[in-house]
Symmetry: C2
Subunit: 386 residues, 2 copies
């Protein structure tokens, strides 16, 4: 028939627009880097935001036991409701009696998916974790940039197609933690000028998960908390979340089954140990790099990252932060992510979850590298850098 004629004559299977539009800025940058370590020095990767890679930060025994109990019970092998077991959701609700906002990828995907249409824009932190851009662009949403404190810029970016603003707290890659006052200003900013009367009822979808806090990022267990005292979302957004959750039928049932026990039985000492480890390592790193001419580390107050500014003027050997970090691998076998990956050039990000001795060694190699390439005269550098 004539219809058949119009068919493609040769196979020409092309990936969908969505696949084509799914871009991971970190991969785009890292895949373009020549990462050939110095064969004389063992590689130290300070690049991966995964606290488990070196084995020095195991999760708590109570978490493992909760999982084994869930497996042995044989009660969590079947399909869970797509929104999750009621018991697990209650456990999360109980655990978060005060607003907190850790972050989880699949929950974020859901949260963005329910709020945004193609052609909408969303405000994302800059510097900021690339996943938001990846998810947004793959859905035809245009991420405008906003910075953690610049409320005026934030206001100027909001228009009638702005469907949401993403706040990452603590920040990746900055390790910064917003004060309560600053968070309140952001919320006020969201509801500024024409929306002034709405300041008290900005609704929030807060995405959280086990990943970083319980040190099991691979388990892919997350949740969305709805903060919406004045019922701005109404039932429609909630129904939208339920519907979207049915597309993929929810998180792994075993981990859901273990969640109640994980949340309730992990001893507080587990969290304080993790935090004190991160603090110590951050201080080592900050103190070491503070005295390296040409580098400006920023002390973090949360998360597991530390940003280091590079005085590019002093390092004429390198075009930019990508070049700088690439050569740091070639010469010193130390790999840090260039902050261009977070749309924040002239910085690099250090992950502070590595074992202490590795952190010390990495810092001393970074110092050696910088001394070698720093082209400022020695007197000048002495003047400027204490």
């Amino acid at each position: 028939p004539s219809k058949a004629k119009s068919r493609r004559q040769r196979w020409d299977v092309r990936p969908s627009e969505m696949a084509n539009n799914t871009l991971n800025p970190i991969r785009a940058i890292v895949d373009g880097m020549k990462l050939t370590p110095n064969p004389e020095k063992p590689m130290i990767a300070l690049s991966i935001g995964d606290p488990t890679v070196f084995g020095n930060l195991p999760t708590d025994g109570a978490v493992l036991q909760a999982m084994k109990d869930a497996i042995d019970s044989q009660k969590y092998n079947g399909y869970a409701p797509s929104v999750g077991y009621l018991k697990s959701r209650q456990a999360v609700a109980n655990f978060y009696s005060c607003p907190e906002a850790p972050l989880e990828a699949e929950a974020i995907d859901l949260a963005i998916s329910v709020l945004c249409n193609p052609g909408d824009n969303i405000l994302v932190p800059c510097p900021g974790f690339s996943l938001y851009k990846t998810l947004a662009v793959s859905m035809g949403i245009d991420p405008k940039k906003s910075w953690e404190v610049d409320l005026q810029q934030m206001e100027s970016l909001i228009d009638e197609r702005t469907s949401c603003m993403i706040v990452t707290n603590p920040s990746n890659p900055c390790g910064s933690v917003f004060s309560k006052e600053h968070l309140q200003k952001i919320i006020k900013g969201c509801s500024c000028s024409s929306m002034a009367s709405l300041s008290s009822d900005v609704p929030i979808l807060s995405c959280g998960g086990l990943a970083k806090r319980w040190l099991v990022p691979g388990w892919r267990m997350g949740w969305i908390l709805i903060h919406d005292r004045n019922d701005v979302f109404g039932s429609k957004i909630r129904q939208g979340l339920v519907k979207l959750s049915q597309r993929i039928l929810g998180a792994c049932s075993i981990i859901q089954g273990a969640l109640d026990s994980i949340l309730n039985n992990t001893p507080p000492s587990f969290f304080s140990k993790t935090i004190s480890f991160l603090k110590t390592n951050s201080e080592i790193c900050f103190n070491e790099l503070s005295t390296v001419p040409g580098l400006n580390p920023v002390m973090p107050s949360g998360a597991m990252y530390l940003m280091v500014g590079i005085d590019m003027d002093r390092f004429p050997d390198f075009k930019n932060d990508v070049d700088f970090t690439e050569r740091l691998v070639t010469e010193q076998s130390v790999f840090c992510l260039p902050a261009s990956a977070f749309e924040y050039p002239n910085y690099f990000r250090i992950v502070v979850t590595v074992p202490e001795e590795m952190m010390v060694e990495a810092c001393s190699r970074i110092r050696e590298f910088c001394q070698r390439h720093n082209r400022a005269s020695s007197t000048e550098s002495t003047d400027l850098d204490h």
Copy 2:
């Protein structure tokens, strides 16, 4: 500023198009049913396609052990590559040395996402599992209907926007298994007339998973096998799958870590036990309902479902299959899914994974129900139903 003026003056947070377009036909139908069981008879649910609900079909001990080993190893807590651990992928590749096609929701989402754009259409089985329609419609894709054998109809439905055809084998809800010959005809049909020269190289994305075969559907572990001997997909579709996998960062790392051992250590007797149980239960159900005037069960040869045709003429008390199954709950506390949920009216689907004595009891209640409502004269029914 004037820009601010154009902002919405009241909060009006609406769910996205995608959320609005995510519809689960089963839910749409079931949520509309009045399901009030007869208080004098305990409820028997033959509706849920989950083999674990009654505890009579536990997964194998080797599967549980593999999970506990993966947990104890503490090697699978970190982020896995978004496409999965190499070791796990190799285990799947080894296990499927011959083409097979079990099905998994998230894998299906990926497979559809990589091939289809809004405005495209896809061919789905009718009757067929509703998830495909849910996923497709939520992405703005128009699912045209095709039936398992009607190759001519299939051909007539293909046009230049047809991006793929979904084959479910064995079928849900039919429990039918296509013969090798029939599958080959389908493939030939895909490449018919103007595409005749391509018949040998129809590329296939085969979605599989642990769910039904290992009796752990809640674990959400699936995979996509690429059958593409003549490299029709090329690297672009593969890259598209990789990119899309980065949106959600892959399946739970613990289960991935256990996968090799699950695939290799589950004894063959586990599968044969499951299959012989399903066969026995299907026979009980088929034999019982075959002798019920007005019902026409279809013996399945795979999966865990059995379809039963209803001679609606004989049951003037009921408008349709939805009405019929609703009243079956009210009177007999037996719940079967009306096949309208699979776009196949005048049938209902029975899940045959329930314990044998429940199956027997359910069949006798269905008989009682049909006898009560069958309005054909007794002689007529004797004539027609042996």
